[in-house]
């Protein structure tokens, strides 16, 4: 294991200009958060606190089968005996888990049969977020599942997908209508007792998306879930399960926002991906939860467990994430490469500013022969933030000829932020080949001056340099998301994307 920690060399570059750039980055980050408003809507919210009775109530509200309740209760009992993880390089006060409400749903959206029955306020909310759900306006190339607090309010294009045998619905609906499928796979990749936050999620998860792509089917459009936290003092615990049968292919996108509030809110999600023989799953996230203010007040705690299993030969799972929001990010989208020749990929941009803290990376577990993995991580730190890449590459004894390539690049803006890299490499097969490259750089005065002499303002120059730094990752995002991502970083890339 090697560990190195880099802080920006100080003496030479702490002049007024760098401080100025620092301020500009902070301004950019602040300006970027335009999702901080709330929706006035009547909600049904459970009393704060967590106990077996609360879990029974959640399960009952969702009309779940008996086995699901039993599964939740078992997870809850595990969770009670577990401690929050402390190994990440993030500092925060552990949430008071009895001071959170575990379920909040808009009153008027109990059973979403058709869009006509969905509260117009909810449709308005998503439209304002750029996710129109109505028949006329909905995004043509993408099917969307919109999740508001604890429930899914609408899913578009279901009919077209159903013709191909594709199931795309909320996980609550899947539990009712496709119970056996859910039962077979739920917890198969991330066990209920996997870690503290995964166990909590398993006990109380309220909604999320379910995707099933039958054998040999290539999903004709991108699937997308948009998560919106609205209610105060609630946590969001979504659960996503994606199954690609032999030869199936799907590309899935996930976006999220939350209002600006002074207190922290907990978001503890679990995502499980299952790729059978020759199947491909691409999973992309643009995470823009509210990050808290300049002083670090408020913001979302984003504690997420994401993992995919390449069960069959030649399966492929690709994670792409752009993490710009949240007060704290603790997240390691991982791949279990069980099938021979299976492929795992992780492309990540994590940007922190203000007082944000991120500890994110991946795990690539090579079990099968000739398995390959690629890790490209780009971290950008500004303000007083701390940004860590943490990754594990493990090659098991039977994984002959396994290959990994890892590249971790850090970009520092200003002299008060931190960038850290914690790569763990564990190789138990002599035929494996593991490569690790790392770099730390900063935006130089020279780059800013050069851009200025080409009529480009320093703040735009910073955006440009950051954007260029992220290019390798953005290239793996679908077009709309790449545009969204560059906007998030305070950049307008326009024609040069893709």
């Amino acid at each position: 294991m090697t560990t190195h920690t880099d802080n920006l060399e100080t003496a030479k570059y702490t002049g007024t200009r760098v401080e100025r750039s620092n301020q500009e980055v902070a301004d950019l980050a602040n300006r970027a958060y335009k999702y901080g408003w709330t929706t006035e809507i009547e909600s049904e919210t459970l009393e704060k606190g967590l106990n077996e009775e609360v879990i029974r109530q959640i399960s009952e509200k969702k009309g779940e089968p008996e086995w699901m309740l039993a599964w939740r209760l078992k997870a809850y009992r595990h969770w009670r005996g577990m401690d929050p993880p402390t190994w990440a390089k993030v500092r925060y006060e552990t949430p008071d888990f009895q001071d959170i409400s575990y379920y909040s749903a808009p009153k008027k959206a109990p059973e979403k049969k058709s869009l006509d029955e969905v509260d117009p306020k909810l449709l308005e909310t998503f439209e304002k977020l750029g996710i129109p759900l109505g028949e006329q306006k909905r995004l043509a190339g993408v099917a969307v599942d919109a999740v508001f607090d604890s429930v899914s309010v609408a899913t578009t294009h279901k009919d077209i997908l159903a013709k191909k045998g594709i199931i795309f619905c909320s996980i609550s609906e899947a539990l009712r209508e496709h119970g056996e499928l859910v039962r077979r796979y739920l917890g198969s990749v991330v066990p209920a007792n996997d870690n503290f936050y995964a166990a909590l999620n398993s006990a109380v998860f309220s909604d999320g998306s379910f995707v099933y792509i039958p054998r040999g089917v290539k999903c004709p459009m991108d699937l997308s879930t948009y998560f919106r936290i609205n209610a105060q003092n609630t946590g969001q615990f979504e659960r996503t399960l994606i199954i690609a049968e032999e030869g199936a292919e799907v590309s899935y996108l996930e976006g999220c926002t939350a209002p600006m509030r002074d207190e922290n809110q907990l978001h503890a999600a679990v995502v499980e991906l299952v790729a059978h023989k020759n199947a491909t799953i691409r999973y992309a996230t643009v995470q823009n939860w509210y990050a808290g203010d300049e002083e670090g007040r408020g913001g979302i705690f984003n504690f997420v467990t994401k993992r995919g299993a390449c069960l069959g030969a030649n399966a492929r799972i690709s994670w792409t994430q752009v993490e710009t929001g949240s007060a704290i990010t603790w997240k390691y989208p991982s791949c279990i490469l069980k099938g021979d020749n299976s492929v795992g990929e992780f492309y990540s941009v994590a940007m922190t500013t203000g007082r944000q803290q991120a500890d994110t990376g991946t795990k690539m577990l090579h079990l099968g022969k000739n398995t390959r993995s690629t890790i490209i991580s780009k971290t950008i730190s500004a303000g007083r933030s701390d940004n860590s890449y943490r990754g594990l590459v493990r090659v098991m004894p039977k994984a002959a000829n396994a290959r990994n390539y890892t590249q971790c690049d850090s970009l520092l803006l200003g002299s008060t932020c931190g960038a850290h890299t914690f790569p763990y490499i564990d190789v138990r097969n002599r035929t494996a080949s593991v490569e690790h490259e790392a770099s730390t750089s900063k935006i130089s005065e020279d780059q800013l001056f050069y851009c200025q002499t080409r009529a480009i303002r320093p703040e735009d120059a910073i955006s440009m340099v950051v954007n260029g730094f992220c290019k390798e990752v953005f290239d793996h995002l679908p077009m709309e998301f790449a545009v969204e991502a560059t906007k998030l970083l305070g950049v307008s890339l326009e024609g040069s994307v893709g």
Binding site: C451, T453, R454, A455, M464, G495, S496
Partner: protein, 255 residues
């Protein structure tokens, strides 16, 4: 077009420019020559607006197209029509030349109330410019100076000059690090961009560049002051006699 009066500049309390006077009119090419450390590059950077230099604005004035240049940040000087070709062009990985140049040109156009170029129209313009000064069309898709050879970087600067069409272009030791072929190619590019509306200030250590880019005026900079001005023959005289000659001859003036 450009009037420099009593220009002083210092960095970290050390005075580098010690009272420069210079007038540049449209269409003229001025060469600034001088030994190492005489302040040639500093002059170029001060004119372009590098903030590391302190310029005493109560003594020094620089007027460009009627505007007080010293009051403006570098990007505004660029928008007004000032261009600096760098001695060491800077790399911006991940950003294509095409994107970079379009952003630069559109910023300038925006500031002048002109319509911005969209991606398609700009591509056409860029291809035209590249053809005009014999630049490999592949430059468009490459990242700004990233992985460029020394010669390619200098040619890329000239391409930027061609696209941005400044009123005054300052070439800071554009010849440094170039072999004779590269020097010729770069100079040909510059010569094609000479026009009655555009002036050049060519900063160089060596006379050989001036065989290709023939100047109207040559100024010799020693110790932060222009100690001698003349026509192109002055460069030849310098070449023959060496910088020690000016240093000795003008020792009194520079003390």
């Amino acid at each position: 077009m450009l009037q420099i009066r009593n220009l002083h500049a210092s960095v970290d309390g050390k005075e580098i420019l010690r009272g420069i006077d210079l007038d540049v009119n449209p269409g003229e090419v001025h060469a600034i020559m001088g030994p190492n450390g005489s302040g040639k590059s500093t002059l170029a950077q001060v004119l372009a607006g590098h903030e590391v230099y302190e310029v005493p604005e109560d003594q020094s004035t620089v007027t460009f197209l009627g505007e007080n240049l010293l009051e403006m940040p570098a990007e505004e000087r660029a928008r007004l029509g000032l261009f600096l070709a760098f001695q060491y062009p800077v790399e911006i990985p991940g950003i294509t030349n095409e994107y970079f140049l379009r952003a630069a040109l559109n910023e300038t156009r925006k500031s002048r109330g002109l319509e911005e170029f969209d991606a398609m129209d700009f591509r056409e313009l860029l291809q035209e410019k590249m053809a005009h000064i014999n630049i490999d069309p592949g430059f468009a898709e490459r990242f700004v100076n990233h992985g460029f050879s020394g010669g390619e970087k200098k040619r890329n600067e000239i391409l930027q000059l061609a696209v941005l069409e400044p009123r005054l272009a300052i070439l800071d030791e554009t010849d440094s690090g170039l072999d004779i072929d590269a020097l010729r190619i770069v100079s040909e590019g510059v010569n094609k961009l000479r026009s009655p509306n555009r002036a050049f200030i060519v900063v160089t250590h060596y006379q050989r560049l001036l065989n290709y880019i023939v100047p109207d005026f040559v100024h010799v900079l020693v110790n932060g002051r222009i100690v001698k001005s003349g026509d192109k023959n002055l460069a030849l005289e310098l070449e023959e006699k060496g910088y020690d000659w000016v240093k000795e001859t003008f020792a009194g003036a520079t003390a």
